[in-house]
Symmetry: D2
Subunit: 366 residues, 4 copies
């Protein structure tokens, strides 16, 4: 049921027709969730993506969704995500609602044949993600893109390109670091893996273009909380062909937000440079500012991710990263959680990749 448009919205769900408006060839997109992440997607779509427009937004928080709708030039407002996805005026969907809702909403999009960009993680368990892979395989068509936005970050893409070019020889080792300023209250070690490390697990797979065979995780509680959850995790990966990765996931790093990768090849290495903000000489130091969070750091990546997603819909090209990437990263994440519990290296049981995904690399070099 459509919610009545509140005082903050100029236009309600009724305005979303089942055909594109007049001569406007832009793809009408519906955005599920209008929190920090969903708000960022809606803002970028409205302001920085040329071939699409925000046709509708949905959220259970009427106040929040109304504000975002207004900022996007009067998008239709829905309280129920499924209803919005089914609306004829919505042709493609961005999912940025809480993690437990992802899988079911993606299935709804698949049933309707609507392209969907789903925030990470694709699901809350490998099994749930496998269900999405199987649904796509059955339909014989890839409609799902997973929100691993680092694959569109110019710095990451630069490193991937160097690695893939052969310039530094065969890539043999991936090194990742991922630091958040502060951990949210009440999260546990598994949350750190599923919500934070999942990005790094995908990066490692993408950069080395291979699947993981073994994981070993050691962690530490650096906050002094009595709970003992591991906000610092040191993850060591071995790939199917013996190549290696080491990842620092550090969700209470204190100083700010920072993400970096280095790919070590047989004859050289390539790594992301520090952010290129102004350097300031002051008070006996040379200082470059560090970003506060991922929305600051990856704003250009989110924009390019959406631009490329819209372009792939226009052109009918396959989305990337795809549901298989969403699934495989969750399988590795599951093994990481097992290793935290067992205190030992754990094997990673990745099944055979279906033919639908076989022709695609795990990553996109742009």
């Amino acid at each position: 049921m459509r919610v009545p448009s509140g005082e903050h919205t100029k236009q309600n769900g009724v305005d979303v027709g089942n055909e594109r408006r007049g001569g406007d060839e832009r793809i009408p997109v519906g955005v599920v969730g209008t929190g920090g992440m969903g708000g960022m997607h809606a803002y970028c779509l409205h302001r920085k993506v040329a071939g699409a427009r925000v046709a509708a937004v949905s959220d259970v928080d009427a106040d929040r969704v109304g504000k975002v709708a207004e900022e996007c030039g009067g998008a239709a407002v829905f309280g129920d995500a499924v209803e919005m996805i089914r609306d004829g005026g919505v042709e493609a969907v961005v999912i940025a609602s809480p993690d437990p809702t992802h899988a079911e909403l993606v299935h709804e999009c698949l049933r309707l044949g609507k392209p969907v960009l789903c925030e990470k993680p694709l699901a809350t368990s490998p099994e749930e993600a496998l269900g999405i892979v199987e649904a796509e395989v059955e339909a014989g068509r890839k409609l799902v893109q997973v929100g691993f936005m680092r694959r569109y970050d110019p710095q990451h893409v630069d490193v991937k390109n160097v690695a893939a070019s052969g310039a530094i020889g065969e890539p043999v080792l991936f090194k990742g670091w991922h630091r958040n300023a502060r951990i949210p209250a009440g999260v546990d070690s598994g949350w750190v893996v599923i919500n934070a490390a999942i990005h790094d697990l995908d990066s490692a797979r993408w950069m080395l273009d291979a699947e993981v065979r073994e994981v070993f995780v050691r962690g530490l509680n650096t906050t002094g909380s009595s709970v003992g959850e591991l906000d610092l995790q040191l993850i060591q990966l071995t790939f199917a062909d013996g190549r290696l990765a080491t990842i620092e996931v550090n969700v209470d790093a204190g100083f700010g937000y920072e993400v970096g990768v280095e790919v070590v090849g047989a004859s050289g290495t390539a790594y992301t440079a520090p952010p290129s903000g102004a350097t300031v000489r002051l008070d006996r130091g040379f200082t470059q500012k560090v970003d506060g969070d991922w929305l600051d750091r990856f704003e250009p990546a989110y924009t390019i991710e959406l631009q490329e997603w819209v372009r792939s819909i226009e052109s009918g090209g396959p989305p990337s990263p795809d549901a298989w990437d969403g699934y495989a990263s969750l399988v590795v994440a599951g093994a990481c959680i097992a290793s935290i519990r067992s205190g030992k290296p754990e094997a990673v049981p990745v099944p055979e990749r279906p033919g639908l995904y076989a022709g695609e690399a795990t990553g996109v070099t742009r």
Copy 2:
């Protein structure tokens, strides 16, 4: 007269109606010139700017203009710029045609009351630019933005923000460097000032928020050509209040394209960091790639420049940098050319700033 649409265009000028199409609220823009610079503007408008669309393009080169029109989703094609500017389907104009055409085309836009983004230089002489300022003053309204895109480059904006914040004390010295890989054949010392140094003269004015009082230029021919034109120019500026600037303009630097600025304040300095592409360790070196030209280096700046220009049209806000900036930079450029000829410091005769521009800073801090 409209040119017939060639084989490269799906749509010709006839399709440009005098009203916005259907429900499409995007501003229809006409782009004059489809060479490297105009093509870049059209591409960015079409792909990366949400509130506008490329409605028409004009060029005397029918082949080139046709291709750009097609890439922009079938824009209308014109052989004559004035005809396109006058077309009812064009509500705002980007001018990227050869320098000698700028002033007259801007005047045409002013006569029609259409907002215009004109590439630098605004005109080919200070006198011609003053005519535009006077036309705006007479109309009592600012419609002209000048394409000093560095004012929208995130690195430059960062430095400007630090300088304007007071963090480094009063800014007392501007240092700029501007290096092109190769000089085009056949250009002279004046061309280097008017086409290349003009950006740096604007940067200095913007960063220090003041007008120049004196210039002193020494130069060198580094290419060994017998002509003796100065491809390397070292420009020293004194501002009205005694503050200083030094600028290296080096249009045959050989190694690649690089632009940087440093603002020295009374208690610290701020400068643009090197580009943040991947760092590669290879062959006994750590290397970061340098851009090849300004289209590579400033692509994000051109995009933001257009996004902000469109937003200012939507909101009715004043354009920035404005015609006064275009004029004042040409006055300084003229004094630089005089200094090259005389071999001495030369005074810069900047007239009183009209009230229309008085309330505006020379730059925009975003």
Copy 3:
């Protein structure tokens, strides 16, 4: 027996009296081994260390030792290291001969009560190193310094100082990388641990000021040799108090020689900056030169190591890093080799630290 002085020496063993010469208060040092490493020590002692002089050098290679003796202003020449150590004209000893000779020569110095700076590794096994620790404990006096020169490298010292100052909070994670251009022919995985990784194991102990409890090593042969030895090793350490380390040892990195460390604290991190050689803009890149090997990279560190060693002899202060550091690093190295063989994490059996070493930190903050 002393070898006769060859044509390359101006002065032979006979000249080494059992008292310091005339009014020369400099400590007469004997250097064992005149290969690359011993030659570097002799050169630095002769040219850059003010309170000592090279009184004698020994090597089985008469030609090589003669040249070094001559370059050091005519030092006495010995073919037999023990004979030189016992000579009355030698008051302190530097050992830079092949690894298997280290322990026995150190014991000889201890028996004579002569201070000794021994290159790493202190011995070829933990058991052999323990014998040295026990000999010092029995003598009740520390005479042995181990050649972990990174503890005197200004960049490493800077990081240690920041970590120890508390500025970045409690240090919780050590990250090290150690890259050689090329691996020598014929070495095996154990050699990589004992000769290369040993430096990093000491760095980790020093930076975190703690002993290691568990190691896990995964490796890779990147050279395509059929032997299968691991020239790339990824070492994960857990310390007694749960803190962590990850080390990349990469002895066939191809591009050059590079060593770096980062200490991650609870609220910030500190890391060694890249070498500060000239940055060159050329050929579409900004490049900094990478060192070719450790003699290039750590020349200043070797000099300071010797200066501080001589100063500690003059002042009677304890040497650092000491025999315990030499021993403990070998215990960790042994566990690393065990982990390579077992494919599993291995516990590290470090015994109780004797009282002689108890009062000393594992590292020196300067």
Copy 4:
């Protein structure tokens, strides 16, 4: 007359014999002046230079000179510099007393035929410096080295080597920046030129290996003092062959001490990298520490300068930079002061270089 050795000295002037002591072949050096600069020289000679020893020190401040003598292992103490220079136990001299004393003390050394390292400036006027050049020419022998220590700074040497190698093409432009944290009270514009800018004028001559033909200086008082002296000076140089330089001399920069140079060649550039201290991520920033003053920044350079000076005495090689460099830099400095007064570009009257200096480059590439 020798001062009696105070309580701070173990040994007085009487101990300085007129022959080297016993078998000690080290060169006995006398240091004039024991303030910050002289104390640094004495310390480096005593601790870090192998072929020399501090035989004597002189200063009118008995307390200060006594302390330095004691720290240097009991050097002889003199209250009168000339008496010390004449002492038979002193074979080479370092002059670090106040500027007005330099020329006369250097003449004393020349009369005695003793090698002398004189701090910059060599004299207080070009005329006075010319007297030293003429005295050397008459003696037919170069004994004077001037303390332009940057010529021994590894970072500067790296840049010089790249420039001289031809790798970046013909050097065409020198850029220097020189920033002190705070200006001493009571100094005037001329002092800034003679004491601070003199280093940069020498750097420019050295890097471009040429003499200056014209200077133009504009300056600013950034401290708000009513005196109006120019603590910020922007110096533009033209060389005899038309090549260029720009120098920022900024003696009240506030944030710390920093010196850098860039040489722009016809096909590339080379510049000194920032200091390579630990980088610290903390409080939303990446920060590298800036040095506090020249003694911090150039300590390695001072050490190498002394090592090379001692080596040149041992080998009989010519000192570098020499008296001509000391003289020529003062001629340029004089023209800078004239330009400050006239507000115009000023010609630089450098006379013909005498044959004694003709065979030497203006700089040393090491």
